[in-house]
Symmetry: C2
Subunit: 352 residues, 2 copies
DNA sequence: GTAAATAACGCAAACCTTTGCGTTCGAATT
DNA sequence: AATTCGAACGCAAAGGTTTGCGTTATTTAC
């Protein structure tokens, strides 16, 4: 690996000082137009590229932000990452993406690594295992901006971007109730996650609104994953008084439940209705297509970065942005013959 | 953002020189055990973290590699990224992931950005639009190691990791032929992509092997994407002599075709068989589950990084690694009643 | 024609770490 | 007792860039 050309190289070749070359490339007023021209020409010819380490060393701002996700290879996260990336690139920032693999220990390590990297800020979505957030507190000491998205923590101390968890779950549950379902199974993840707590709240609220008795057996809060969805749904379908509908908190849970229903020989939506937090692009893969609460991942990513950037630029305001989910009713939640779909597919517009 | 503590800060507080502190933390033999202890204690107390910019400036190796993918939010790429990441972290490397958005111009920019970043090496999967690879040649001038994966270019000059394109397509096609299909539609992407060229070759070879006449109308090579899959399949099903099976080169194409078949009111696999390069986790989402050629993304990622690391460490050998696909026969390609499945589900083990 | 102003450029410090080499001092060898 | 050796540490350069300030030389104003 040969040494890249530096300002010094250019300066020597032109017989001028390094400062002049530096200023010329920065289009400073302190250097003549003729000189600027000469410098720029040589720089292009020699393929000069400023050394980012030297600049970062001086300014202590590498123009990099860190992103911590529980998992990279899930559409939901990768699409958010993609949106963050786009917003970041537009502002001249690069991103370093790290995965906690849904593990507390790794997440801890991720935070440390990003600090060592001297990132200018961190966007984080916590792992399923994380119920204690003290490993994020170091960032406050170091004055490194932190914004949580989706699964959040330390909400008194840091900004975050979340979805309308309570309302979306309430809406989804109400939708099932209005279509005549009585025994709605709630299939979620670990209880300490804000998204689980809040959505369960919305689910229960809808039941109360419609005066449906609450049955704790229908609420499953274990882990998020395809197998878990399969197991939970299987169990709820095997009850003496089985479920006639499911609200699933993630795509993997929903498809797991989907398979469980099919394997049981039951029909969707005739025997069992299904709705879940499912990504737009996959909801239509299956037959019947899945009714879904869809996250506006592009908005989530964009907004998260915007909040972070604001903090990087010095703001200390703690903000909480809510990106609404969009309910799209497809085949899995409404019986064709029934025709008693009270509510038109409600698409809440994204804020801002 | 307050200034992080430096070696100098520690040195002053201890009343020793910077070099001693540096060596103490590096556990050098040139400093006494007592001093080491004192330094380490203070370092921990003051939360000293080595400045990566200073180190990189000196050594010109930031321990970062760049990854260029056509798209982040696709399971195939994100799972490869995930595997690369894991391998990289294990070796103390971080990754910067950039997306070309399937665009030639952006890809060009990505390469430039990564060079400016002084990454130690680049792993790349080219965009659909890319047929000219000259923008990668800069890397050779700069002596930056480059390894292509999946969609490759410059194969005489750079190492790459690919799948067994010809063989897998040949096997998949043969599988359809052995199950009685005669009019197999080939739904691929742009012709200039190696993966399309080679797989088409495998497809044609299988037809020849089985003495089936080749019909150019059944070969569609346009773009990769859900809508394109839908269109292509719709068209082939509307032919006077329509397709009775499809081989799709990507998951999005396959699910697009899947929907087209359903919308036409045809049954899978009774009327039309379907097989494609589909990710393991999604193949089972639909009913019937999809027969698939599955990429071993973990292997692809891991092997790619290993090849790159070898080059970073100085090797100039140009290597080409082939990671075989795995054929898993599910419901979409074999009629239940037929029972003439000649070939057992063949799972080729991953190499190494 | 002298004083003041300005344009155009150079010097050098600073950012932080690593490392070859030089220095000092005490202990071991002859 | 004089010499040698090694342990333990300091000095200083190097890596590339930015920037405040100092230095020229030329132009402008009176």
């Amino acid at each position: 690996m040969k040494r890249p050309v530096s300002l010094k190289d250019l300066a020597e070749e032109l017989g001028v000082s390094i400062s002049t070359v530096s200023r010329a490339l920065k289009n400073s007023g302190e250097v003549s137009d003729a000189m600027k021209e000469k410098v720029r020409k040589l720089a292009k010819e020699k393929k000069y590229r400023p050394n980012p380490f030297a600049v970062s060393l001086l300014k202590n701002s590498p123009r990099i932000i860190g992103i911590i996700v529980p998992d990279i290879a899930t559409y939901y996260y990768s699409s958010i990452i993609s949106a963050i990336n786009q917003a970041a690139v537009k502002e001249g920032y690069s991103t370093i993406i790290v995965s906690s693999d849904e593990t507390y220990e790794i997440e801890k390590q991720c935070v440390e690594n990003l600090i060592n990297f001297r990132v200018e800020g961190i966007l984080a979505c916590v792992s399923q295992q994380t119920s204690d957030f003290s490993h994020f507190e170091v960032l406050f000491d170091q004055n490194i901006p932190l914004v949580f998205f989706d699964r959040v923590g330390l909400s008194e101390k840091s900004s975050c971007v979340i979805t309308d968890n309570v309302e979306s779950a309430q809406t989804a549950t109400a939708h099932l109730l209005e279509n005549g379902r009585k025994r709605i199974g709630f299939i979620g993840g670990a209880n300490h996650l804000n998204i689980v707590k809040l959505r369960k709240h919305g689910y229960l609220q809808a039941l109360r609104d419609y005066k449906i008795p609450i049955d704790k057996d229908l609420v499953v809060c274990k882990e998020i994953g395809y197998e878990l969805g399969y197991e939970a749904a299987s169990r709820l379908l095997a009850l003496a008084n089985p479920s006639d509908a499911f609200l699933c908190l993630s795509e993997s849970l929903a498809f797991g439940a989907f398979k469980a229903i099919r394997d049981k020989g039951l029909r969707i939506p005739d025997d069992v209705a299904l709705i879940g937090y499912i990504d737009e692009i996959h909801a239509d893969y299956v037959s019947p297509p899945l009714s879904a609460m869809t996250h506006q991942t592009a908005q989530i990513g964009k907004t998260s970065f915007k909040l972070l950037l604001k903090q990087i630029k010095g703001s200390t305001e703690i903000e909480k942005k809510i990106i609404p989910c969009i309910l799209t009713v497809r085949g899995s939640s409404v019986k064709k013959a029934a025709g008693n779909q009270l509510e038109a597919p409600k698409t809440t517009p994204a804020q801002e």
